[in-house]
C-alpha cells in the first residue's frame, strides 16, 4: 500500500524566520497521482524532499504505507525519486544507472538484468543500455532517471519537476508519455511542478502551495473552477482569473456590485450584507463580449487584441481594472473600441478582499 500521510509537518531552514513548511497536512491515497503546484520558493520541493527523507521536518510526522518513516533515511522508505537535473550518474552506463538500486539490494545478476531490460524497454531506451549519460540527449537522460526509479517497483514515486529541463516541444510529448506510463504502472506518485498546465493535465489531484502551506488540495477541475483563494485563481489558468474589487449595494431590492461608479448586476453570494467589500473573480472564457449593448453587460474599452490562433484574447479596461476576455477569432474589434461584457453569473467566484480566501457568507438564518 502506497498511501502517504503527512501530518502537521513544519520545516525551518537555518536562521530564516519564515518556515519553509508551515503545518502541512495532506493525505495522498494509494495509486494516486498528486501534483504539488506552486511558484518557486513555495515549499513544494521541500515537501517532496521531506517525503523522500532528504530533508528532516522539525515537527510533524510522515507515514508511507501506514508506517511512520519520519526518522528513517531515504533508503528505508521504499520510495524512488526523479530529480530535476535527473541526477543520472555520469560515471555509469545506462544499464548500471538503472541497475544501481537493485545492486544495492544485492539482487542476483540474472534478476537485475531482466528487470533493467524490462524497465528500459518500458521507457524506450533499451537501445542505449551500454552508453554513458554524456552520450544521451536530455530527453533520453530523463527517461533513464524515470526507469531507474521504476525498476525499484517503489511504493511511492517522487518526481521533482522532471520535465522542466526539456525544451518546449519535447516537454509536451514527454508529458503525455509520462501520464500514460504512470497510469500503466499505478504507483503512488508525488509530482512537483510550477507549471500549472502540467498540473492540470496530469494530476489526479493538485495541492496548491503558497508560502510553505497547502492552500487547496483538490481535483484539477475543482482547483480550476473553484479556486479556494485569490492566489490560486491568479496562479492557475492561462490567462489567470480576472479579479474586480467592489462593494455590495442593495437598492430597491436589486443587488449589485459597485466597482468605482459602475454597477455590475450579477448573481451575488446570498446573504452578503450591503456595504460588504468583495473581490469578484471570473475567468476569461466566462466573459462574453459583444459590440452592441446587451442587458446586464458592462461597457469597457479594448486595450489590446491578441490573436492566439484558436481564439482572440482581449484586454478590456472596465473602470480602472483590466480584464482578460476570450472571444471567437472572427470577433471584429479594434483597440480603443468600446465592447460590452456579459459575465456568466454561474461562473462568478467571490473572495474576501482582505484574506484573499473564498468568501463564504454566514449561513442564512432560515
Amino acid at each position: 500500500m502506497g498511501e502517504i500521510r503527512i501530518q502537521n509537518v513544519w520545516k525551518y531552514f537555518g536562521k530564516a524566520k519564515v518556515p519553509a513548511l508551515k503545518d502541512v497536512t495532506l493525505t495522498i491515497q494509494d495509486r494516486e497521482f498528486m501534483v504539488l503546484l506552486g511558484p518557486s520558493g513555495c515549499g513544494k520541493t521541500t515537501l517532496l524532499r521531506c517525503i523522500a527523507g532528504l530533508e528532516y521536518p522539525e515537527r510533524g510526522r510522515i507515514f508511507i504505507g501506514g508506517r511512520d518513516v519520519t526518522d528513517e533515511p531515504p533508503r528505508k522508505r521504499t520510495i524512488a525519486m526523479v530529480f530535476q537535473s535527473y541526477a543520472v550518474f555520469p560515471h555509469l552506463t545506462v544499464f548500471e544507472n538503472i541497475a544501481f538500486g537493485l545492486r544495492m539490494q544485492k539482487r542476483p545478476n540474472e534478476e537485475v538484468k531482466q528487470r533493467v531490460i524490462k524497465a528500459a524497454d518500458l521507457m524506450r531506451i533499451g537501445a542505449y543500455l551500454e552508453r554513458y549519460p554524456a552520450q544521451l540527449s536530455g530527453g533520453q537522460r530523463q527517461r533513464v532517471a524515470v526507469a531507474r526509479g521504476l525498476v525499484m517497483e517503489p511504493q511511492v514515486l517522487l518526481m521533482d519537476e522532471p520535465l522542466s529541463n526539456l525544451d518546449a516541444l519535447l516537454r509536451l510529448q514527454a508529458r503525455a508519455e509520462l501520464k500514460r506510463l504512470l497510469q500503466e504502472v499505478q504507483t503512488t506518485t508525488v509530482y512537483v511542478t510550477h507549471d500549472q498546465i502540467e498540473a492540470l493535465s496530469m494530476g489526479d489531484r493538485i495541492a496548491v502551495m503558497e508560502n510553505g502551506a497547502i492552500i487547496q488540495a483538490d481535483i484539477p477541475s475543482q482547483v480550476y473552477e473553484h479556486p479556494s483563494s485569490h492566489f490560486v485563481g491568479g496562479f492557475i489558468g492561462t490567462p489567470p482569473m480576472n479579479f474586480m474589487r467592489g462593494t455590495i449595494s442593495r437598492t430597491n431590492g436589486t443587488a449589485a456590485l459597485a466597482v468605482g461608479n459602475q454597477f455590475i448586476h450579477a448573481a451575488l453570494p446570498a446573504n452578503a450584507p450591503a456595504g460588504q467589500e468583495l473581490l469578484m473573480g471570473i475567468r476569461a472564457e466566462n466573459i462574453e463580449a459583444s459590440l452592441q449593448p446587451v442587458p446586464d453587460a458592462i461597457p469597457g474599452q479594448v486595450l489590446v487584441v491578441e490573436p492566439l490562433g484558436s481564439h482572440l484574447l482581449l484586454t478590456v479596461e472596465v473602470g480602472e481594472t483590466p480584464l482578460k476576455v476570450q472571444t471567437r477569432v472572427d470577433f471584429a474589434v479594434q483597440p480603443n473600441q468600446t465592447v460590452y461584457l456579459r459575465l456568466d453569473p454561474k461562473q462568478l467566484r467571490w473572495f474576501d478582499p482582505e484574506t484573499g480566501l473564498r468568501y463564504e457568507p454566514e449561513p442564512s438564518p432560515l
Binding site: 523522500a52 550518474f89 539490494q105 531507474r148 517522487l158
Partner: protein
C-alpha cells in the same frame, strides 16, 4: 532562395546564390601583423621560461670539466651522466631522495585524510559557522608559514619528533592544509549534490553514496590535489631544513650543502636538475586543474 517576404516563391531552375562575403573574413595586413605579434610575444615568453630549464639540463649532463670550462657553448659538446652520477653518489643524496618521497607521500595522505572531509563538509552542508570557518582558513594564508618552523622545532624536541620524517610531514601538512581544504571543497562542489541524494534514495547510506558516487567523480580532482600537495612538500626547503638534522629531505640536504659547506658547482647544477625534473611532470599532470589548484580566489 528565401521566403522572407511571405509570398510563395515558385521553384526556379536557376537559383541566384549571392556571392560569398569574403571581405569581412579576409584578414587585413594590420590584423595579420597584430596576430603575428601576439605569437612572437607568446614564444618570447615561453623562451624566457624554458631556456633556464634547458640550460640547467645541459649543465647537469655536461662532463664536470666542461662545467668549469669557459666560455661554455649553448649547445653541449658532449652529453654524459658523469655530473648527475657525481651528485647521485654524493653523501646523503639517495637517502634524502627517499626521505623526500616518504615525506611527500605522508603529507599527501595526511592532508587528504584531514583536509578532504573538511572540504566535503564546506561543499555539501550549510551550517552555522561555515562561512567563518572558510574565512579562518583563508586568513591562515596571510600568515607566513616560515615562522611555524622555529617553534615547531622546539616542540618536536620535547615530543621526540625532531629530525623525524613524521615531523616534517606534519609541518608540510599544516602548510598544505588550508589549500587542500579549499581545493577539495571546490572539487566536491563540482559533484552535484543531487547525485548523492539519488544514490541515497536508491538504497545507499550516506557513506556508501559518497563512496559509490562522489568519490569516483571527484577522483581526478583529488588526484590533482594530491600531486599539488606532493609538489608543495617536494619543494619546501625552510621547514625541512630547520626540522631535521640527519634525516634531510632532498631540498634540505642541498640547501645545507650549499649554505653551510659550499658544495661545488657540478653538485649544484645536478641538484637543480633533480629538483626541477619532477615539476615538469607535476604541471603536465595537473595542467587541466591549474586554476582549481592555484587560481583559488576569494569569492
Amino acid at each position: 532562395m528565401s521566403a522572407k517576404t511571405g509570398t510563395i516563391n515558385p521553384p526556379r531552375s536557376t537559383v541566384d546564390v549571392p556571392p560569398l562575403n569574403t571581405a569581412a573574413n579576409k584578414p587585413t595586413l594590420a590584423k595579420t601583423l597584430g596576430r603575428l605579434g601576439l605569437y612572437v610575444a607568446a614564444i618570447a615568453i615561453s623562451m624566457f621560461f624554458l631556456c633556464p630549464i634547458y640550460l640547467i639540463t645541459i649543465s647537469a649532463f655536461s662532463p664536470q670539466k666542461e662545467i668549469f670550462a669557459y666560455p661554455k657553448a649553448l649547445i653541449p659538446q658532449s652529453l654524459t651522466a658523469e655530473t648527475v652520477l657525481f651528485f647521485w653518489n654524493a653523501t646523503g643524496v639517495q637517502a634524502s631522495l627517499v626521505n623526500s618521497v616518504i615525506v611527500g607521500t605522508l603529507t599527501v595522505i595526511f592532508a587528504l585524510l584531514v583536509g578532504a572531509p573538511a572540504g566535503y563538509s564546506l561543499a555539501r552542508f550549510i551550517f552555522r559557522g561555515r562561512d567563518s570557518y572558510k574565512l579562518l582558513i583563508l586568513t591562515t594564508r596571510a600568515f607566513p608559514i616560515v615562522i611555524l618552523s622555529i617553534p615547531l622545532a622546539v616542540n618536536y624536541i620535547s615530543w621526540n619528533m625532531y629530525d623525524t620524517l613524521w615531523g616534517v610531514a606534519f609541518a608540510h601538512t599544516a602548510m598544505a592544509l588550508p589549500t587542500t581544504i579549499l581545493v577539495t571543497a571546490s572539487i566536491f562542489i563540482g559533484v552535484p549534490r543531487e547525485l548523492e541524494e539519488a544514490a541515497q534514495t536508491l538504497g545507499c547510506n550516506r557513506a556508501l553514496a559518497f563512496i559509490k558516487v562522489a568519490m569516483p567523480l571527484a577522483l581526478p580532482g583529488l588526484a590533482a590535489a594530491a600531486i599539488f600537495t606532493f609538489a608543495l612538500s617536494w619543494n619546501e626547503t625552510f621547514a625541512a631544513t630547520i626540522l631535521t638534522q640527519r634525516n634531510r629531505t632532498l631540498p634540505a640536504l642541498i640547501l645545507s650543502q650549499i649554505a653551510d659547506v659550499g658544495a661545488p658547482l657540478p653538485y649544484r647544477f645536478a641538484a637543480g636538475f633533480f629538483l626541477i625534473a619532477p615539476s615538469l611532470l607535476f604541471i603536465f599532470i595537473m595542467r587541466r586543474y591549474l586554476f582549481g589548484m592555484w587560481g583559488q580566489v576569494v569569492k
